[in-house]
């Protein structure tokens, strides 16, 4: 009996290995006929549509595998430049453009490395892609905050800003854990989710304390 159990386990792991080989999206793009003939507009539009689809999946995190299939770093780059431009301040004490940029990328890299070191079953850039795209709700909250900041500041408006940032933070964390939660073994799930939580918490702090 014991032997049979062991062998069934090993068969499972073999199966999952086989399944994984077919997952990366490279094969899919190979199947499509050559993109050399098509107009540039079509190519650009297809890429833009792919980016848009990813943003939609982040804002509406229902299916968990779509974001993992084909990673790109365009969305994270756009979000990062946008947030760094919005958050930079020229007075002393506020973060520079480069500091926001570095926090964004280094933070994503450290969180990814942490997932990998804990034995997570995900490729490096897939994780960076997901973490980058999941900042999207916080970027929306930042836009709202910037609009609110045009008006004269009162306590009520601060509360509104605070609620928006909290909502964005919760949304970001929820979306990223929906995508990245399954890659870790069960007894280590908390360990891999905590750094993600911290990462989005820091970005939320940058947004809420930006007052000029």
């Amino acid at each position: 009996m014991a032997d049979v159990d062991f062998h069934s386990k090993q068969d499972d792991s073999d199966l999952s290995l086989e399944g994984e080989i077919t997952v990366p999206g490279v094969a899919k793009s190979d199947d499509e006929l050559s993109t050399l003939d098509e107009p540039v507009k079509d190519t650009v539009m297809r890429d833009l549509r792919a980016i848009g689809t990813k943003f939609f999946h982040v804002l509406y995190p229902k299916t968990s595998k779509t974001l993992l299939k084909e990673w790109d770093l365009w969305g994270p780059l756009i979000l990062c430049v946008y947030m760094a431009m919005m958050l930079q301040g020229n007075t002393s004490g506020q973060p520079e453009f480069a500091e926001v940029f570095v926090i964004y990328w280094i933070g994503a890299v450290i969180v990814t490395l942490n997932t990998k070191l804990l034995g997570g079953n995900i490729s490096f850039f897939q994780s960076v892609c997901v973490l980058g795209y999941c900042v999207c709700p916080l970027a929306v909250a930042l836009s709202v905050c910037r609009i609110i900041l045009i008006a004269n500041q009162t306590t009520a408006l601060f509360v509104v800003r605070f609620l928006f940032v909290i909502a964005g933070f919760a949304w970001s964390t929820f979306a990223s854990t929906a995508f990245l939660g399954d890659v870790q073994a069960r007894n280590r799930k908390v360990l891999s989710v905590y750094p993600i939580f911290l990462f989005y918490f820091i970005i939320s702090w940058l947004i809420i304390s930006h007052t000029h």
């Binding site: 159990d5 062991f6 004490g93 942490n114 034995g119 007894n187 280590r188 360990l191 702090w205």
Partner: protein, 406 residues
């Protein structure tokens, strides 16, 4: 056939690396009941403990430390797997270690009881990261609470993050490095030997108590802040002391006590530094006036400034005092020059308007310093100025040059 089977099972028990192969070989139905019993035991012992994703033997955390040592040798320093062994913990283990780092129990060595089989870097690293940001955020919050009552001109200071990170990460690495070097240098004969990784691990976890404390430090009550410092330093400090006492106790008594005192003092100094720098701003920090820099200015500079003063006085004379306004660039050297010659004792530094300054200076300096009177008074002739001292001669030459240029 039966004897062969039993032999294979024994091999499987001794050598886990070959275990899979041996057990695959054991698919045959076994007649001997004793042998089957042994196989069952070995199966339960070996394979129920593997995490499902684990392909290599390195992730076998519950096995003996002998295995771990063997694996450390096999995986190279440059491979990713080498670092994975330092993150080989699960959630309960980390929580257990964090809780243990806050509760000193006499007689329970924290390193041996909590860390020993496999020291990790996950906990220490993320505790330090968390502490950096809680201190930066809570420090800003404390600053805001202080400024809220007086003036609403508050700006958050992002760069507290870098100061906190520098302090915490250097404490986390430098103190264990020094401690490890000291232990290695003293060459203790005790049976306990702490590796560098273990010391780093203990030090990282010992900072965990400051995470909740740093949030509580935002409450701007002075005695509460100092109470929290005392609690944190006592709890985590005594865990450190209990942990490191066994390795140094067989050394000379003075050395042992010094090491213990240093460990405790550094830990407490970190906490005190946090409070004083990030949270505890004294209430009377209002006066931020620009201090005059004359005491540090060297003599040639003063003379140069002085000559510009003369020039200005003369040009004023030339212009017949028609222009009441002097631009700030000229007025500042004016003020500096007058203080350099110790004339403007009565003149307030903030008063930089030219017309009253001139009159006041001439009145004040009449009794005290004749040379300056000569310079300042617009109607005096220059040859009189040159009669007073060597430096004044130099000044007069400068004035000459200045006038020719203008």
């Amino acid at each position: 056939m039966a004897s062969n089977a039993s032999l294979d099972v024994e091999l499987g028990l001794n050598d886990p690396g070959k275990n899979k192969d041996e057990l695959q070989f054991h698919d045959f139905p076994l007649e001997d009941e004793d042998v089957e019993f042994e196989v069952k035991n070995s199966h339960i012992h070996k394979f129920s403990d593997f995490p499902p994703t684990a392909e290599s033997d390195e992730d076998d955390s519950t096995d003996k430390s002998e295995l771990l040592k063997e694996d450390k040798k096999t995986s190279s320093f440059w491979t990713f797997e080498y670092y994975q062994q330092y993150f080989d913990v699960d959630s309960k283990q980390v929580l257990h270690r964090i809780a243990g780092s806050m509760m000193p129990l006499p007689g329970r060595n924290y390193l041996v009881s909590h860390i020993r089989p496999n020291p990790d870097l996950y906990g220490p690293f993320w505790i330090c990261m968390t502490l950096v940001f809680t201190i930066a955020i809570a420090g800003n919050l404390a600053n805001y609470l202080q400024s809220a009552s007086t003036q609403y001109e508050w700006k958050y200071d992002f760069h507290k993050v870098s100061y906190a990170a520098t302090a915490i990460f250097s404490y986390w690495w430098l103190i264990p490095l020094a401690l490890y070097g000291l232990l290695w240098w003293r060459g203790t004969q005790s049976s306990l030997h702490y590796s560098f990784l273990e010391i780093i691990c203990v030090y990282g976890y010992s900072l965990a108590i400051y995470v909740p404390i740093s949030i509580l430090w935002t409450i701007q009550v002075s005695w509460l802040q100092w109470l929290l410092v005392t609690i944190g330093a006592l709890l985590s400090g005594s865990v450190l002391l209990i942990t490191f006492w066994p390795v140094v106790k067989e050394d000379a008594k003075q050395v042992a006590i010094t090491v213990m005192a240093l460990i405790f003092i550094f830990n407490a100094a970190l906490a005190v530094g946090f409070v004083l720098y990030f949270f505890h701003v004294p209430s009377t920090s209002a006066s931020s006036t620009i201090a005059p820099t004359t005491p540090n200015v060297s003599l040639p500079v003063l003379q140069h400034l002085h000559s510009r003063l003369d020039m200005q006085a003369n040009t004023n004379n030339i212009a017949q005092d028609k222009s009441p306004t002097v631009n700030p660039a000229n007025s500042q050297p004016f003020a500096l020059g007058t203080q350099g010659t110790k004339v403007s004792n009565d003149v307030p530094m903030g008063n930089l308007k030219p017309a009253p300054m001139n009159s006041k200076l001439s009145v004040d300096s009449k009794g005290t310093n004749h040379a300056v009177t000569n310079e300042i008074k617009p109607n005096e002739k220059r040859p009189q100025t040159t009669q007073h001292g060597d430096t004044m001669k130099g000044n007069a030459k400068n004035v000459d040059n200045g006038i020719k240029k203008s």
